[in-house]
């Protein structure tokens, strides 16, 4: 990452190699899927490979590596924080079912006096 701002970016040959590398990762993902790996291991492996692909796309295809460091540090940690918060708070949705009021109490209309 450049600290001084946008600098010269790699040539087309580099991008073709990167594109081929991403295709290889896709092939590995498909092979892993049919390799009878345990579901948890498969899920973790696929997420790890997707993160590697995303990092390559972000840094090179989207040229984030060649922008000022402050752009990276202003955007990516904020996104990671939001995603980690999703991961921490989403399971709370399962608690909603046990938080419902008892049926009798909620369905009884208030007395008119």
């Amino acid at each position: 990452m450049s600290s001084a701002g946008s600098s010269s970016t790699p040539g087309m040959k580099f991008y073709v190699v990167l594109w081929a590398g991403l295709l290889v990762i896709v092939v590995v993902e498909v092979l892993l899927t049919y390799a009878h790996v345990r579901p948890l291991s498969l899920t973790l492996a696929l997420i790890a490979l997707a993160l590697i692909e995303a990092a390559m796309a972000l840094l090179y295809f989207m040229h984030l590596k060649y922008e000022r460091r402050i752009l990276f540090w202003s955007l990516i940690p904020a996104l990671v924080f939001v995603l980690v918060m999703f991961d921490h708070f989403w399971p709370d949705a399962f608690r909603v079912t046990s938080m419902r009021l008892p049926v009798a109490a909620s369905s009884t209309p208030p007395s008119g006096g």
Binding site: T33, I47, A93
Partner: protein, 208 residues
């Protein structure tokens, strides 16, 4: 340049500060949009993950042929479209007229991706799949998750194809410069980046 414009420029030039991010405002706004959109896709993918883990009768309906093979071809098409977009950005930055051809190739690949996706959807709908119905039994939430996630991504692809088409026309007429192609390219690479998560999590993890 008129005298008034000249004096305005001189005035702004004396007080203007250096851009803190070193990128044009247009590009910075696109980055902010991408981060917000990434959070949207993150939310929908996390929700899919929890719904899937929370459903004891989750369906894994995708056979290698035709669904997974079709998704592999779609991945190849979208990754290649990112490469042609990079070609367009480089050609436009160098002032070469081949930028138009690279952009045309990107549009064609985007349309191909959308066509393959819609063909897959049509086949699934004919089999009885819908956002609220699962024809093979099991959790009906599969249809909601599948059509919701892939539909949101497909919407982004269609918007991207339209945006690249408009930018191509404007660039050809000399109404916009290479920086507009670079900014549109950022969006297109992001669409590709999202698919890198949709393909393994929505297709491969639901393969039979």
């Amino acid at each position: 340049m008129s005298h008034a414009e000249l004096s305005m420029e001189q005035m702004h030039g004396s007080v203007a500060e250096e851009r803190p991010y070193g990128v044009p405002t247009r590009k910075l706004v696109m980055w902010l949009f991408i981060i917000a959109d990434a959070a949207t896709f993150g939310a929908i993918l996390f929700a899919y993950g929890y719904v899937r883990v929370g459903s004891a009768d989750w369906t894994k309906p995708f056979a290698f042929y035709p669904t997974i093979l079709n998704a592999i071809v779609m991945t190849f098409v979208l990754l290649t479209s990112s490469l042609t977009m990079l070609g367009a950005v480089r050609a436009a930055s160098a002032g070469r007229p081949t930028a138009i051809r690279w952009l045309g190739a990107t549009i064609l690949l985007g349309i191909t991706f959308a066509g393959l996706h819609l063909r897959e959807w049509a086949a699934m709908i004919r089999e009885g799949w819908s956002p609220s119905h699962n024809p093979v039994g099991g959790s009906p939430l599969f249809g909601a998750a599948f059509f919701g996630i892939t539909g949101l991504h497909l919407l982004h692809v269609v918007c991207g194809v339209i945006a690249i088409g408009v930018i191509t026309l404007l660039y050809r007429r000399g109404r916009v410069d290479a920086s507009y192609i670079e900014t549109t390219g950022l969006y297109w690479h992001f669409v590709d980046l999202v698919w890198m998560f949709v393909f393994p999590l929505v297709y491969l993890l639901n393969a039979r």
